[in-house]
Symmetry: C2
């Protein structure tokens, strides 16, 4: 004996989400029954909207409901600087720090021959023409430190050689609050190698 | 800088669910963008349906989309036996064991003076008239072992005194697989008190 169809369908849908098992999906489905009707209406509509209204920004590939995303539409930012990130979520992370005032470019992936992701699968042609067209002076590569991150970083910096552009990569090292005992040896090695002179 | 409105609304809606914080809500909202459109359509429709189609069974208060729930509509079950549970979820739990073949009655709460839940707030009048009308012969009280469970159980068994009905309560004791060291002392006390003769 199952729940009524509607509840069962809700359970099945919640189960499609990452990290949601049968128990959580059941809990969420039943919790829906106690939510205010207004919230459920907004939820239902936003789900549909997420499939119809959300697209990639024409310039940087970040999420947007218009042709250009909110960041690319903001003319007050620093036009010289472009920050390369792996995915749209990274843009949000950087924006939340309020430190970077340039623009972003979302690669939507990293080069990974094992997973069959070749340079051609990333939006690199579009990136190069953007850099050229908009006369970008500094490219900051902000992808994660991993084999794929290294490869992508190296590939892009090679492409930008001889173009009179400053190319940098965000620092790798021991993260804030981390216990040295628990940091992996590769991170420690990098942190030591990239040590900063204090005096 | 926030996500586009649609994504932000999704995040806010997911945050209304039990145990879902900002990080999980964001993860779920972004995961929605990668789900198949068909799934999102079903999800969206089921959310609305959960508010419009799901109601309480006229007879037992369990979830249903019709007047009677699937269980109460099933005439092949044992008409003599009625199992009293706290909430609709308990019905599903018992049904999943495939052991009980009678009918259920959902109290939708337990007597709890501290929380202001008096006997009148439960569906006890409806329960009594159901027992009378349908000539129920056995009532099994299957509420959780707690102060509120005790109170509710005692209250209902008092009401059914002198009615020539067998009233029982599901056994309390050490659960399967539990380490005796980790079972609380009240459970152990009950388990000892309700010990079962083996020879």
């Amino acid at each position: 004996m199952n729940y009524p169809d509607t509840i069962q369908k809700l359970i099945d849908c919640f189960k499609k989400y990452p990290g949601v098992g049968s128990r959580s999906a059941e809990r969420f489905a039943l919790a829906t029954l106690s939510l205010d009707k207004e919230i459920v209406d907004v939820f239902s509509r936003s789900l549909i909207d997420s499939k119809t209204k959300i697209k990639k920004c024409e310039r940087c590939n970040y999420y947007t409901e218009d042709d250009l995303c909110k960041i690319c539409s903001d003319k007050s930012r620093n036009r010289d600087s472009l920050c390369l990130v792996e995915d749209p979520k990274s843009v949000k992370m950087f924006e939340d720090t309020h430190i970077f005032d340039g623009y972003y470019y979302v690669l939507n992936g990293l080069i990974s021959p094992i997973d069959g992701i070749e340079p051609g699968d990333l939006n690199i042609d579009k990136l190069l023409s953007l850099i050229e067209k908009e006369n970008i002076k500094e490219v900051i590569i902000a992808v994660k430190p991993s084999i794929e991150g290294e490869t992508t970083s190296l590939y892009i910096s090679k492409l930008l050689e001889d173009k009179n552009i400053i190319v940098s990569r965000i620092a790798q090292g021991v993260p804030m609050g981390a216990d040295i005992d628990y940091v992996d040896s590769l991170t420690l090695e990098l942190a030591l190698e990239n040590r900063k002179k204090l005096n």
